[in-house]
């Protein structure tokens, strides 16, 4: 394709005319996607500010005639039964997600280190079988996993969820962290060991800190996965006071008839923590998603 007809008199810093069309197309795409993304969420918020019957009008009120925060107050006030229940779900989700994230990292770090540093038989096979973890849909594992949780005595405890969730982040964590360790020269550790550190100390004080961006990245990914998980939580938990938010949300819907505004408010509240976390740690999250797939 290199047709050297025009020997380009002056290299322009920025492309000119022909690009205009493309740039406008790009803007068009972005504008469309922005609307596509934001409008449903906007309608969620608008609906959540309506009263129950105001939401059931046709044609709908484009903006609530009477803006009310009662749905939020109801859900978040610890003084009524609904609020207590909802807050309980919220804490359960938080607790399960945080614990499974921490444990997930604790399990992944040594494994990634071993995959990076050691050459033991079966290494490749094990490594790739770990990667395949998320290829199996939750639905088909419900029954066997329930039986296993039963044997482990974990049914109707948060332990069952933590054990299951901590594997969500594993493939990614191991993959990502292995990449990190591959890039940390082993000489660093050797130097530390010559100075009298044990192998574990060398690992813990030298290698771990260097890989902390990777750890943060995988942790946030694992947290979001755990926070949003629904199918296992639905199956493993019975007690109302142990449910997590996604299941609680569904239950909320079943119980409150078609309280669409209430449901929208609950969806909104439920989304806030992950969205905030994501916005704050965006850089890491993006890294978690893309690392490994992208090589220069």
């Amino acid at each position: 394709m290199s047709t050297l007809t025009q020997t380009s008199p002056r290299p322009r810093p920025r492309p000119k005319k022909p690009i205009g069309g493309w740039r406008w197309a790009g803007r068009g795409i972005l504008a469309f996607l922005l609307l596509f993304t934001a409008l449903p969420m906007a309608w969620m918020v608008i609906t959540s500010l309506k009263s129950q019957l105001a939401a059931l009008q046709y044609p709908p009120q484009w903006w609530p005639e009477e803006v009310t925060f009662e749905n939020y107050i109801l859900l978040l006030s610890p003084n009524n039964a609904v609020g207590q229940e909802f807050l309980q779900y919220f804490w359960n989700s938080l607790y399960v997600s945080i614990l499974s994230t921490i444990l997930g990292v604790a399990v992944a770090v040594p494994a990634a280190y071993a995959f990076s540093r050691f050459r033991f038989p079966g290494r490749q096979m094990l490594f790739f079988s770990v990667l395949l973890r998320n290829m199996f849909p939750a639905v088909v594992f419900l029954m066997p996993l329930f039986l296993m949780m039963k044997w482990l005595g974990l049914v109707n405890t948060h332990g069952s969820l933590i054990l299951t969730y901590l594997t969500f982040g594993l493939p990614l964590s191991i993959w990502l962290l292995k990449g990190f360790y591959d890039n940390i020269p082993p000489q660093l550790e050797q130097a530390a060991r010559i100075d009298g550190a044990t192998r574990f100390q060398a690992f813990f004080y030298i290698v771990m800190p260097l890989s902390s961006p990777g750890i943060i990245a995988t942790a946030i990914y694992a947290f979001i996965m755990a926070w949003n998980e629904y199918v296992y939580a639905l199956t493993f938990l019975n007690s109302k006071d142990k449910l997590t938010l996604p299941v609680g949300l569904q239950r909320f819907f079943a119980e409150y008839a078609t309280n669409w505004p209430g449901l929208m408010a609950a969806s909104f509240i439920m989304s806030v923590p992950v969205v905030v976390l994501f916005l704050v740690l965006q850089k890491y999250f993006v890294r978690a998603l893309t690392e490994g797939a992208v090589k220069s």
Binding site: Q52, L53, L147, K150, N238, R251, A254, E255, T258
Partner: protein, 500 residues
């Protein structure tokens, strides 16, 4: 034997009646139970059943539950109990929560040494949860199920045999239809806790606006189709609250009455002595009922377009918002509407109050064949010892079942939504209080004799929750014609019965 209920003392051990017979002359029916001494026995004559009769017997007897059950299991019994049930939810009126709390307090007082672990589950998740739990030997000792579910577990041998006599009551103390629902292959696997049938509610104002008689419900299902169209055409409001969601229990509860009324059936459950062997889903009556649903949804577009994804819950708010004119309603729905209206604020409040004012209850429409309604309710069951987490404490279970299924608590725990399973509940003062305070209770209660239980076979959940809704959806989406949809469903049921 003490005569607790002030009825004429009749020597016990007279006769055990055929439970299938509707002529339960309960005055004679008494009990003699091996091993236990209590007996309430029914003080109720089902042949005289009418709203007036129900009112006349209410409040004629006294009962001391704790004392009676102490005769079955001593009140100082020390043990453990685990129990699953669908407890009251936030959507239910205050009184249900109050009764529930009172019940647990009374239970604690009656049996202070039984350590109780009670789990209230969500109705929509419960069946799957119990199935999984039973498979994993993680079942509770005692569970209260909606009337349909028990048979599946009984058929699998996962339930322990349990009959009223085991906890100091008599079989004749319960509705014969209800006893049918806990009987599988001649053995009894549970005790009815509460029974109810649905009624028909409509918005009198919408009826009047559409030029219909505001005080009269449609007399026949053909009228329902007609009224629905008239309302939609005149007012643009949806007429009948059709529901046809897949895999949702309340689809068959709303559609089977119509099917039966036209002379249809899933199997032969409408006959006196059903064998559950012949498939009737594609007989003329079934097809007529399906056609009527088709006419409303497709031809007249007079029912909510969202019917295919709706459950009954999703009809309540449109009704209270005045956007839906009539529907089959659970007895509890009136209380729920009142509750919804009481929670509404601002402009909503006026609208909702008006709807409650205009709400009317009546009998379900008739069809060419009969007036029919699903015989609903709940039963309590005991799981087989080997499936129970931590083993079964039989006496704790018996004490609990005696306590909760007796006249007192079977009435109180069914406060707004149902009726006592134990027939003597109808004679208690609480029944009188209910009749005095709950509007339309007499109407829904008087539908009970029209009640038809779903087929008592383990495949019943699949037929009712999957095949029947599928049939509706196939016809209503135009994927199949009415005939094809009915034939297709009938064939699926046949395959199921043949043990595919």
């Amino acid at each position: 034997m003490t005569n607790l209920l002030g009825r004429k003392s009749v020597p016990a051990r007279l006769s055990r009646r055929n439970i299938l017979s509707y002529s339960v002359t309960a005055l004679l029916a008494t009990t003699m139970i091996a091993g236990s001494t209590t007996s309430f026995a029914a003080n109720v004559d089902l042949t005289k059943w009418s709203p007036e009769y129900v009112k006349s017997i209410a409040g004629t007897a006294e009962v001391d539950t704790a004392a009676e059950c102490a005769k079955v299991v001593p009140s100082d019994y020390k043990g453990r109990l685990s129990y699953w049930w669908v407890g009251p939810t936030q959507a239910q009126p205050e009184i249900d929560h109050k009764m529930d709390a009172e019940f647990w307090a009374a239970w604690k007082k009656a049996y202070p040494n039984i350590e109780t672990d009670a789990q209230s589950l969500d109705y929509n998740d419960m069946l799957n949860k119990v199935r999984t739990a039973a498979l994993g030997n993680a079942a509770p000792m005692v569970a209260k199920f909606p009337i349909l579910w028990g048979v599946e577990f009984a058929a699998k041998g996962q339930l322990k045999e349990l009959k009223p006599e085991d906890v100091g009551y008599a079989t004749d103390d319960f509705w014969p239809g209800a006893m049918k629902s806990v009987t599988y292959e001649g053995k009894t696997y549970g005790i009815p806790t509460n029974n109810e049938t649905m009624g028909f509610i409509w918005n009198a104002k919408i009826f009047a606006d559409a030029g219909l008689d505001p005080e009269k419900p449609p007399a026949t299902w053909d009228d329902v189709v007609k009224y629905s169209k008239q309302i939609k055409d005149k007012l643009g409001i949806n007429g009948y609250g059709l529901v046809a969601r897949q895999n949702a229990g309340n689809t068959p509860f709303r559609f089977m009455p119509q099917l039966w009324a036209y002379g249809g059936g899933a199997l032969d459950e409408t006959s006196e002595q059903p064998t559950y062997k012949t498939v009737e889903l594609n007989n003329a009556g079934s097809k007529a009922a399906l056609q009527a649903a088709y006419d409303m949804y497709v031809r007249d577009k007079s029912v909510p377009a969202s019917a295919l994804t709706n459950t009954q819950n999703e009809n309540q708010n449109p009704f209270i918002a005045g956007q839906l004119a009539m529907m089959i309603a659970h007895p509890a729905e009136y209380a729920k509407m009142v509750d919804l209206a009481s929670k509404a604020t601002g402009a909503d409040k006026a609208a909702a109050d008006a709807v409650v004012q205009n709400m009317r209850y009546g009998l379900l429409p008739e069809g060419p064949a009969r007036r029919a309604v699903v015989f609903g309710g709940s039963n309590v069951h005991v799981f087989a010892p080997e499936l129970v987490e931590g083993g079964l404490d039989v006496d704790a279970a018996r004490a609990f079942i005696c306590f909760s299924t007796g006249p007192e608590w079977s009435t109180k725990l069914a406060w707004v939504g149902s009726n006592p399973g134990h027939l003597d509940g109808f004679t208690t003062k609480w029944m009188k209080e209910r009749l005095d305070t709950i509007k339309f209770l007499d109407v829904t209660t008087s539908m009970l004799p029209s009640g038809i239980p779903f087929p008592v076979i383990p495949e019943q959940a699949e037929i009712m929750n999957i095949i029947v809704p599928d049939m509706l959806q196939n016809a209503l989406t135009g994927k199949m014609t009415v005939d094809q949809a009915a034939d297709d469903a009938a064939q699926k049921v046949q395959e199921l019965l043949d043990g595919m």
